[in-house]
Symmetry: D2
Subunit: 356 residues, 4 copies
């Protein structure tokens, strides 16, 4: 079944394992006539690429993308766009331990329970490496919605949150944490360093905002824009929670405190508070779309943890190797990509560009 495809009309399918020859995506439903080359995709892959600072895994992957189809004379043709990224740094190592014992918190046991068989090298299909394919597809999606501005950032690491009053959009790219608050960024350096040195890991909260989404995008009931976004965010490795607008905070309020006064505006009503995060009844209100995703700390830690072997014996396992001390950081471009993919889908639906 289409477990590896996402989207309704702007639809992409990813394939590939972390230790196979390559990974990739096929983007189906992209309109014809868009100017597209590898140069439009590579910057987003570079943003996600590992090894860019000491706060991410040291695995070295150039993540160079190749376009194999769907583009002619520098423009999309409306036919499937095949994107290919070769795997380069597959450090040969002994996977014996991982092959025999389940890493707690990883998908190892669940995969065996489902498939009775798994590619245990680096997690195989369950590896976060698959998200490179999403980022590549997301770069194509961005070309479909040029007027929409998508921006994600890290809002908290290990429980240490930014000061929203210090929020500075221009700071996000000035630090290795995609942090909009310089003060928090400084604190996180020490925090993430200590976790990294201790072979530990940290959870994080990533926020994402999309502006320029016209009122009316989305759909009622079982394809609500917020349902699509929730599914998209939870589909990202390590994400365990999602909020639309004020999310759980709204559940603690009275109606008056959550009320969202509407006032006449140049381009339709303006919502004074936008508690709803730009979505009502599953449909965009024309206000900024606001989503938040909770990333758990990765289970790849040096501290040995009790587990069981494939044959059911008790044992202990510690995860060595090159891991992200805080996966939420590199989750930022992935969250942006999923937002772009969901919105491109809506754009085509509502613009009537569903014929390809």
């Amino acid at each position: 079944m289409s477990w590896n495809s996402f989207g309704r009309v702007f639809r992409f399918t990813t394939w590939g394992e972390s230790h196979g020859p390559a990974i990739g995506a096929v983007v189906d439903g992209c309109p014809p006539g868009l100017v597209l080359s590898e140069a439009d995709i590579q910057p987003w892959l570079d943003k996600r690429r590992p090894g860019t600072s000491r706060f991410t895994t040291q695995r070295q992957e150039p993540d160079q993308v190749r376009i194999l189809s769907g583009v002619f004379d520098g423009r999309t043709t409306g036919t499937p766009i095949s994107l290919l990224i070769e795997n380069v740094d597959q450090r040969s190592k002994d996977y014996g331990e991982v092959a025999q014992a389940y890493r707690p918190g990883h998908a190892d046991y669940a995969y065996d329970a489902k498939y009775g068989f798994r590619d245990y090298r680096g997690g195989g299909r369950s590896s976060a490496r698959e998200t490179a394919s999403r980022v590549a597809a997301g770069a194509v999606a961005r070309l479909v919605i040029p007027r929409v501005r998508i921006r994600a950032w890290v809002e908290a690491i290990g429980g240490d949150a930014i000061d929203t009053r210090a929020f500075d959009d221009s700071e996000i790219d000035n630090n290795p944490f995609f942090c909009p608050d310089p003060g928090a960024a400084r604190r996180w350096e020490a925090l993430v360093d200590s976790a990294r040195k201790a072979g530990s890991s940290l959870g994080a909260v990533v926020a994402c905002e999309a502006t320029g989404v016209p009122a009316g995008w989305g759909a009622p009931l079982y394809a609500k824009l917020d349902s699509e976004l929730a599914a998209a965010m939870v589909s990202i490795n390590a994400v365990k929670g999602v909020e639309i607008g004020d999310g759980f905070a709204a559940a603690a309020l009275r109606g008056e405190d959550n009320a969202d006064p509407m006032r006449p505006g140049a381009n339709g009503p303006v919502f004074a508070a936008n508690h709803a995060g730009g979505i009502a009844g599953g449909i965009a209100t024309g206000q900024p779309i606001r989503v938040r995703a909770a990333f758990k700390p990765t289970s790849s830690i040096l501290t040995p943890v009790e587990t069981v072997t494939r044959t059911g014996e008790a044992t202990e396992i510690a995860t060595r190797g090159r891991h992200d001390p805080c996966v939420g950081i590199r989750g930022v471009p992935v969250v942006e990509a999923m937002m772009a993919l969901v919105l491109a889908d809506q754009a085509l639906l509502h613009r009537g560009q569903c014929g390809w």
Copy 2:
């Protein structure tokens, strides 16, 4: 497009407006041979039915369900099951105000932006009345997964949470709040009463647990069991956030604190903490599935709120009429229904009952 259908193999489609002659659902993909009659569905509809206590809306709807197809000699045939519920209490009133001005926090403006036209009587298709169809379909879904036990409850109202140490499963049905903590239930009486009398409303957090789900159900990547559950919960009116397992709490932890030791068990490994809420890599681990949904306070309050008219003028609106002071309460059977619908879908997929 299939905005009104949900599910992959156990698939249902709902139809109907709150003020039309009837609402209903067509359940497609139900296996043949299941014993089914209206008596299997009615109790769940009664659990959701309005007017059962002073803490819910006083609209009187018998919500009697009729099965129009798909059953022969008391058993399902594998063909579509058509369920019909007549609308009875459509109190004739003047909708002039709602027709002209948008209710802030409601879907009124978004629907007009999308469709350019809407059935404004009681919210039309965006009315929570649609959830009766889900509960009816969910009752059929439960018959597909007899070994799975699904239980939802209210965990907090207006920020006042239960004491988890006082959690008593048997208390849930002993109070009008589906509250497992008798102490909290007493406090909530006063809290909800005051909100009701003030014409205000309260947000709530609903938790749901499913036990008996075998390891292996679910799928990787874009059909993760947690993605399906997140989409299902966010598709419920007023839900603005979802957590799987520990959700946002996990984002504040270090890897060691979120570690989930696995120990040998009679039926596969046992997870000591189940922080993950029974799902890893999108696939069930065999542990209890745990989900939490945040319900915002309904926007239907007596306090006038600024808004705009269809023609863009500034005005004020207060929502009179019969409304739930805390929609989260009646959200409990709906959350259970969506859980049942998602799991029935998985059951058929993994049992190989996808042929109908």
Copy 3:
């Protein structure tokens, strides 16, 4: 799985058995703002209705349709349109024989093999009565494509074909056979009468043409317009073959004889011969869409035929009761409905009306 739904964006789901309380369809994806009432649907149902001449089954069904949702103030709202048709003439009879022995040529054995259980009353879900739901949904589809003219007729009965030189469009509704050739219509009276009196049945070929379909509708590869039409036609009870344009005749030609010269025209190129039936590479060329469907003679005949019982013993069965001597005749409005449903789907896709 969605065995009972058809269409991508203009999507309908049918439900109901020939001997249940009712049958119906839910039409999802219909644009908002279309003027719609029962009066727009009833004439097409009447065209298909049994008992209108001695050449069709004498079962009496008023086939009165009711719209239960999706329409407000006489216009569609963009939400699901629920259509309901009550079953009236379910003559109580003894189905013992059909319950125990499989009718050769019917779906009885196949249904038992698949479901292990079936509603044997009048064929249950496999009854051609289901096509009434298609005709009702097709009537809504026609409103989506007002500029497209769809016309079907019977081209041959029992091997006796019309004289294409005598083709007169205005004659089609002047005889009980939807026959465009008055001479053939006269011959068919005797032919069908003799079959009816002998308790026999006759096969037929139904042709359908759609004009006004703009070049560009359709899609390449796995959703070719001709693929969609072929699937739609073969989904009709008793259809065993489909031709697009010249169909099998083209397979006997040389390239020169099948060449289709293109000449400049007021609205794009004109194809001199239109051998292709208005479709090239799966996409409409702007020429008339031409499809032909082969209806087998119904297996419901009085002549006893060898068969087996549910328990595997050899026996004989003859099908008594009220049957169509030539199901192809009443197939005409069904073929038209399927053509309308496929084209409405394409219209929405290419007009960018996929948002509902």
Copy 4:
């Protein structure tokens, strides 16, 4: 939209143009644990490969397939199988004429009407080269249904049909026409040679039979096994008609002549005549599945034909280059592949292997 994907649970997506760097397919939903290597796929690609006799195009393509994902330790993992075939023989030539004028009978005009832009080199996406991807995917599908035997052959070329009494299964691979009748094969040599030398082309009828399909596969109404097969066959380039079982011949019969007596058999009832081609009510009866496809003569002929330019002027065009004199011949392995893909889908559905 998924115009480039086919199948419900065994689902494949193809990508690539005839003159791009490569073409390929992603097979999603293949069960884990199947032994698979390039060696299982290559023989089927070789059967379709051009240039194997003087009766097919002389374009030289090695069509070497590479598996990029979804296989570990020689077995499928249940994750997507990415198949890649490089394009080698893209003879550089001047496409100016084809770029400016539409080839009658080709998809040129329809593509421009739809996309406003096309890759005119060798037909781009509309080139029959895409069928190599189907054959590769079909080879994987065959591994899913080892007990099903699929066999296709050419039944007629240019109207010259085989003598069914001379049918000899073992002859099919003994001649370049996949012809089961040695006498016809001899006649076709001269026939196809003359067409080839004259720069003409010939239509053909391809028949396909699948044995070993258990009763019960398939589904009612809108996913009938015959509907799926009809859509699959018509999706093949140049196919303009499809017959299930006796097809159009049945439309000329009386019920008695089309009756299909059932007799007790070792493995369920045996149908004496199997007029229905192994399908009743959309569901397999356990008898051989029989399908016939009509291939038109390719429009690529040397005789100049009237046409129009992109700018609407009248002109003439003759198609030079390396073309198949009878595309139906190389259509044989493609028809077999589509049959295998449809049946693999059904196998997984009915075996309950839909979880991946």
